[in-house]
């Protein structure tokens, strides 16, 4: 039985120890995975010709950074993919919100468009990539279009649902307090749909990157997707991994920014475990 409360210092010390333990074990796990891969490849149990190896990936990144890639500067290619994904992302988010909120507030319009939305949502959207390349050419626009289509639907459905779930009591209360239709939309419906919308934004940036990269796969002059396709064609697994590392860095940075934005927009919510802490 404890005789005294733990001192603040002691609690702090214990927390720090715990954090250090978690971080070193995380690092240890990565070292274990990479080490195993490296050893298996070095001993030719995993054929490095097909499977690559961590040192090979690092070397590839170094070569790309120092000498550029076969299709031009690494940064130009990364930038192209990034802005294609970002444009598609913002277009999808903005239009998804507008359409979602509008249809949720307009019952007749929702009834009219429901079957069309269901049908267009059921089309495997990646296939549209081929059509976009045909229509819009090998440039960036076809990639932006594919990223947009992938982002639009999840955001649209979440915005629709979030708007539908807006508490009727809060809407009544706002109207009794004198709110105009516009006030109700801006001050009640939009904020209450916002947690749904930001939730969909977390997955959406990943979709936008998929759209950009798949689009580049299908036909492009620049971009990380093309870099991967080229590496694949040259039997260069290290090149594929190296491009994957860059894409992962991009996705994680975007996720970080979206989480920051979410924290700012939804600072009224009780603190809760968010996706990034899991």
């Amino acid at each position: 039985m404890a005789e005294e409360y733990l001192s603040d210092q002691e609690i702090k010390r214990r927390n720090t120890t715990h954090r250090i333990k978690v971080h070193s074990l995380q690092l240890g796990f990565a070292v274990l995975l990479m080490g195993t891969w490296q050893i298996l490849a070095d001993k030719k149990i995993l054929d490095p010709f097909f499977y690559g190896r961590p040192t090979g990936v690092l070397h590839q990144l170094k070569v790309w950074v120092q000498n550029g890639t076969s299709i031009g500067s690494l940064w130009v290619n990364a930038w192209v993919t990034f802005y294609e994904a970002t444009y598609g992302f913002f277009a999808g988010v903005i239009l998804g919100i507008i359409f979602g909120v509008f249809l949720a507030r307009n019952k007749t319009a929702a009834e009219i468009f429901a079957p069309y939305i269901k049908v267009s949502n059921s089309i495997p959207r990646v296939v549209l990539g081929s059509i976009f390349v045909l229509w819009l050419g090998l440039g960036s626009i076809s990639k932006v279009a594919l990223a947009f289509v992938l982002v639009f639907f999840p955001v649209f459905f979440n915005a629709f649902q979030g708007t539908r779930e807006a508490d009727n009591k809060l809407i009544s209360n706002a109207r009794l307090l004198g709110a105009s239709k516009r006030d109700v939309l801006r001050r009640v419906i939009f904020p209450s749909a916002l947690s749904w919308i930001t939730a969909s934004m977390h997955v959406s940036f990943g979709f936008a990157l998929i759209g950009a990269i798949v689009g580049e796969f299908l036909g492009a002059q620049r971009g990380l997707g093309l870099l991967i396709a080229t590496a694949q064609g040259n039997f260069n697994p290290n090149g594929v991994y190296a491009a994957m590392v860059l894409i992962a860095i991009m996705a994680l940075s975007a996720e970080f920014l979206i989480t920051k934005l979410e924290d700012r927009l939804l600072n009224w919510r009780p603190t809760q475990v968010s996706g990034s802490e899991l």
Binding site: K169, L170, S172, A174, L177, G178, D183, W268, R269
Partner: protein
């Protein structure tokens, strides 16, 4: 001809579609009037249609048959001279205490409302909590926000739908006293729905007992206990107990009836 009565129900019936497709009769030929400035409590058994009566007055719903008038005007739509305090929390969770209380003046485009908002924050004892969000407040504090949010607009008619029923007993009696204090300053007409008879008598000038649904007026009692009242203490006086007995005798049959119906139809409202 409606002058004098702040609220008037004329042969009002209201029915709702249930999810099963049948009709649920909430009110049938409800008739009563309330004088301006009166504090009236509506009591009745669970599910008798008390809350429906309030939503008709606020214009949130329209009567199926009959006429509801507020201050001589038939109610067709939401009327912003009416204040409504809901049973469950209806403060805006994304606004802090200040913005919640300022919502009415802001929506109504009242100029320079800052001082007014601060005054009401002080009146309900929330000074220092301006920047807190509702989820950071206790149940009693949230109710104060809701009260101030409504009263700041100086409604000529204040509707309250079991506003304190979600609070614990002690907080509730404190809030009852605070409501009384605020009301005595404004003297607006109040319709207060509750199924707590003690609360009804402690607060009201008049207690209307409604029948088990569909609601009709079963009895009407004038409460002439002296004001200003202290709700927390008044409930032990012999006058209070006498009135309580009188009303409870009337109410009991309706409560029993409502309970019997629940036993017959365990699925609830039909």
């Amino acid at each position: 001809m409606n002058s004098g009565s702040a609220v008037k129900f004329e042969k009002v019936s209201k029915r709702f579609r249930t999810p099963k497709g049948t009709w649920y009769q909430a009110l049938a030929n409800l008739e009563f009037e309330v004088e301006a400035g009166q504090f009236v409590a509506l009591v009745g058994p669970t599910g008798c249609g008390k809350s429906t009566a309030l939503t008709l007055l606020a214009g949130l719903e329209q009567p199926s048959i009959g006429k509801v008038t507020v201050n001589g005007q038939e109610v067709h739509d939401i009327d912003t001279s009416t204040g409504f305090v809901f049973q469950h929390d209806a403060t805006f969770p994304w606004m802090n205490v200040y913005s919640n209380i300022a919502a009415g003046p802001k929506f109504r485009k009242v100029k320079d409302h800052d001082a007014l908002v601060k005054l009401w924050i002080a009146k309900v004892g929330l000074t220092g909590f301006e920047n807190n969000y509702p989820h950071q407040l206790s149940g009693g504090m949230k109710k104060r926000v809701a009260l101030a949010q409504s009263l700041i607009n100086e409604p000529s008619l204040l509707l309250m739908d079991e506003p304190f029923s979600a609070l614990d007993v002690q907080t509730r009696s404190i809030m009852t006293d605070e409501l009384m204090g605020l009301w005595e300053q404004t003297k607006s007409t109040v319709l207060f729905v509750t199924h707590d008879l003690e609360e009804a008598i402690a607060l009201a000038d008049r207690v209307i007992v409604l029948t088990a649904g569909p609601a009709q007026v079963k009895a009407d009692f004038k409460i002439d206990l002296p004001r200003p009242r202290k709700a927390r203490d008044i409930r032990f006086t012999p006058e209070f107990l006498a009135i309580y007995h009188k009303i409870w005798n009337v109410l009991r049959d309706e409560v029993d009836l409502a309970y019997q119906r629940q036993l017959i139809a365990p699925s609830g409202k039909k």
